[in-house]
């Protein structure tokens, strides 16, 4: 039976198990929207196409499923670019379907014609320009295969209007993809696995570097077995938070630019680093020449092009992390590294006395307090979706994520405006989860129109805006490295409580620590989406910090005692 290309699109999505898509209609995608009404698919109408990608991204990160985006040609398609880049840098599987002008008009600068396959080439794993109805099913089926296989990522399928309107027979079996299987790399050689095992068994000061790949591969249990059996502490990347539990006895916490000093010190003094599904990003290594100078390095990753990119390693094991760990675990001996763990613990004590959460309430509200309290009040069980900046780092430091997929954040791209739409997507993927947005006043203003999407779709997310009146992280860099010249970082905000009211959601303002608990309780109790504006200390900075280009152990530590704390007598 012949069907239109538009119908074939939906048939394919149903076959792939898709029940929710995020999108925005327009001229070149109209045939597809017209056909949608005949299919059991929930369409979420966003307020800007960038948010549609972030929603699909949050949907994917929360559930592991492939997020789907639909947009029209021209500006509809170009608005996807930031979201695709965000997903690409964080290895998130997405399929974006865009309408395109009729094939006869391609290359003529027709109305709303943009070369979106050309534009998105570097920010997608692969993309397609489909001009015939019979090519739609093979393209979409392969797009899902490419998005989810190997190192995941976004794929875009651009479909001309005449391909949507044309007719073809929907032949799912014939559309079986094979090209994504072309480069199944060989499993690491036995000798390489043996070398890695020997290095692990001989190490005296080993540290595991736990990355996002643990989540993507589903290797949490194997990583914990390795850590427990061989008594190896693990440091976690930003995207690795939650992939392994933060409160595990072997957890050191987050590494890198805003990692705690003991974590980075442990990496610098280690004699063996075991890097699991992470890519030695500049935000976790500091100055490369000074990075872990005494450590041998084992790198396990599914992406062979990551080996020796930033950090030269002694053994590179390419493959699916779960399979590689299963191959080496039987040969890893039980060990005790008591003196090494005690040494790391001794640094921990020094850091704790500087920690703001251990300082008395001085009447000021600090973002760190809000994060700490939110963690306590939600018993660490919420899915927290953060934006980008200071609040993101405070959240990573003070909300201790134990559960898998419990932190959703834009790591590689650092995309402001990500949090609210991603949280809406996460909540739709996991309706039973308690989802919190943590965003700054700057990033929230980038995409807050999606509040209306949450209302229209009857989605409940709880929103904590950390308002310090600045683009805080940039301000912090200006304070530290540009002699406090605050160029373009002070930012005004609307009255967020009235804003919430205008959108018809619960809104509240908090400027004292004593009020945090009741506000959080009220937000949780509110029927729909709820917003709390936390007015926090304006010129607070995230510590500790490794300055860009500094060695990893060369950290700007928390002031001791905090000069802000000493001004505790000031009225707020």
């Amino acid at each position: 039976m012949e069907q239109t290309g538009a119908q074939i699109i939906w048939e394919c999505l149903l076959k792939m198990g898709v029940d929710t898509v995020f999108g925005y209609p327009g001229g070149a995608i109209l045939p597809t929207y017209d056909a949608m009404t005949g299919y059991p698919v929930r369409h979420v109408l966003v307020r800007h196409e960038q948010s549609a990608v972030h929603m699909a991204d949050g949907y994917s990160r929360a559930s592991g499923r492939t997020g789907v985006v639909v947009a029209t040609s021209g500006p509809g398609a170009t608005n996807l670019v930031t979201g695709l880049a965000t997903a690409m840098l964080d290895s998130i599987p997405l399929v974006a379907i865009t309408g395109q002008v009729g094939s006869g008009l391609l290359g003529t600068d027709a109305f709303q014609e943009v070369d979106i396959t050309g534009i998105t080439l570097p920010v997608t794993k692969h993309n397609y320009l489909v001009t015939r109805a019979e090519d739609i099913a093979p393209a979409i089926r392969e797009a899902f295969a490419v998005a989810t296989s190997g190192r995941p990522g976004p794929v875009l399928v651009d479909i001309t209007k005449d391909a949507q309107q044309g007719k073809a027979t929907f032949e799912w079996e014939k559309a079986m993809p094979t090209r994504h299987l072309r480069h199944i790399p060989p499993f690491p050689a036995a000798a390489e696995l043996e070398r890695a095992v020997a290095m692990i068994n001989e190490a005296k000061r080993p540290v595991i570097l736990a990355g996002h790949g643990i989540q993507l591969s589903g290797a949490r249990a194997e990583v914990l077995t390795l850590a427990e059996r061989a008594d190896i502490p693990f440091a976690i990347t930003l995207l690795g938070l939650g992939a392994v539990p933060a409160t595990h006895p072997h957890s050191l916490g987050m590494m890198g630019m805003h990692g705690e000093a003991w974590v980075n010190q442990a990496i610098q003094e280690a004699d063996l680093l075991i890097a699991l599904g992470m890519r030695f990003d500049d935000r976790v290594t500091g100055r490369l020449k000074a990075y872990a100078p005494d450590a041998k390095k084992i790198h396990i990753d599914i992406d062979f092009s990551e080996f020796n990119k930033n950090v030269p390693v002694d053994v590179a094991l390419g493959g699916d992390l779960l399979q590689v760990l299963r191959a080496i675990l039987p040969k890893v001996q039980s060990a005790k590294h008591g003196p090494w763990l005690e040494r790391i613990n001794s640094w921990r004590g020094d850091s704790a006395v500087r920690d703001i959460k251990n300082l008395p309430d001085d009447g000021h509200l600090y973002a760190a307090h809000v994060m700490h309290d939110l963690w306590k009040l939600t018993k660490g069980a919420a899915v927290v979706v953060t934006d980008v900046g200071q609040h993101q780092m405070w959240e990573a430091q003070y909300y201790h994520h134990d559960g898998e997929r419990s932190l959703i954040t834009s790591g590689g791209a650092g995309t402001m405006g990500f949090a609210l739409p991603a949280a809406i997507g996460a909540k739709m993927a996991c309706p039973d989860a308690e989802v919190w947005v943590v965003a700054g006043d700057g990033g929230f203003q980038m995409t807050f129109a999606e509040l209306m999407t949450a209302v229209q779709e009857d989605v409940k997310v709880n929103i904590a805006i950390i308002n310090n009146g600045f683009l805080g992280m940039v301000r912090q860099w200006q304070e530290l490295f540009y002699e406090s010249r605050y160029a373009a970082t002070p930012i005004l905000s609307p009255d967020f409580v009235k804003l919430a009211e205008a959108f018809g959601v619960h809104g509240q303002r908090v400027d004292k620590r004593a009020d945090v608990a009741s506000a959080v309780a009220a937000a949780r109790a509110a029927k729909g989406t709820a917003l709390i504006e936390f007015r926090v200390e304006q010129e607070d900075s995230v510590y500790p910090m490794v300055a860009a280009g500094a060695a990893l152990h060369d950290m700007i530590r928390r002031p001791s005692p905090s000069p802000l704390a000493e001004t505790g007598a000031d009225p707020v």
């Binding site: 080439l121 570097p122 692969h126 072309r182 992406d303």
Partner: protein, 181 residues
């Protein structure tokens, strides 16, 4: 140092852009890139010569393997190989210089493909080194114009990759159709 990569790809629109974009974005320096049809109708073959260190060349190979349209990548570094480049060189030569130039062309086993009143066009096929030597030899006469194809390369002996040797598809008799890119 130069590394020779042979890349088999689908013969479909946009593949050259994907490869070129990858090299540009990752900062891999292309010395030359040639592309053309192969014995199989749906497969194109690129020869990419990159000027970089061994680790970067290895990463270029791994990046190429991630492209959906790439069937296989061979790095010819460790194999005995034939690398050939074709050059057309228009050299200045009046009637009195002509015989001297013709002698040199013979030494290089090259051909004269056009003769005009005061110039010759010479066609030379060979290794990169041979062509450069010919160019140096002709330079004193005055090189008016030169075009080069870039290298095409192949391993010596049997093809080693079995997936590429045994093909059930019939070998195409004429391969004049150029790749659509």
């Amino acid at each position: 140092m130069t590394h020779v990569l042979v890349v088999y790809t689908d013969d479909e629109p946009g593949v050259l852009t994907r490869v070129a974009s990858l090299f540009r974005r990752r900062g891999f320096n292309i010395h030359s890139l040639t592309v053309g049809p192969t014995e199989r109708p749906s497969v194109s073959r690129m020869t990419v010569v990159v000027d970089t260190d061994a680790n970067t060349a290895r990463r270029a190979v791994e990046h190429l393997r991630k492209l959906v349209n790439v069937l296989e990548v061979q790095q010819l570094g460790q194999h005995a190989k034939v690398v050939r480049d074709l050059a057309l060189i228009r050299v200045s030569a009046n009637a009195t210089q002509r015989s001297e130039v013709l002698q040199l062309v013979q030494v290089f086993r090259s051909n004269v493909v056009d003769i005009a009143e005061d110039s010759l066009v010479i066609e030379c096929t060979g290794s990169l080194g041979k062509i450069e030597a010919l160019v140096d030899t002709l330079r004193p006469f005055g090189i008016l114009e030169m075009g080069r194809t870039g290298a095409v390369a192949m391993t010596r002996g049997l093809r080693t990759d079995p997936s590429l040797v045994s093909s059930s598809e019939p070998v195409r008799a004429e391969s004049s159709q150029s790749m659509s890119v």
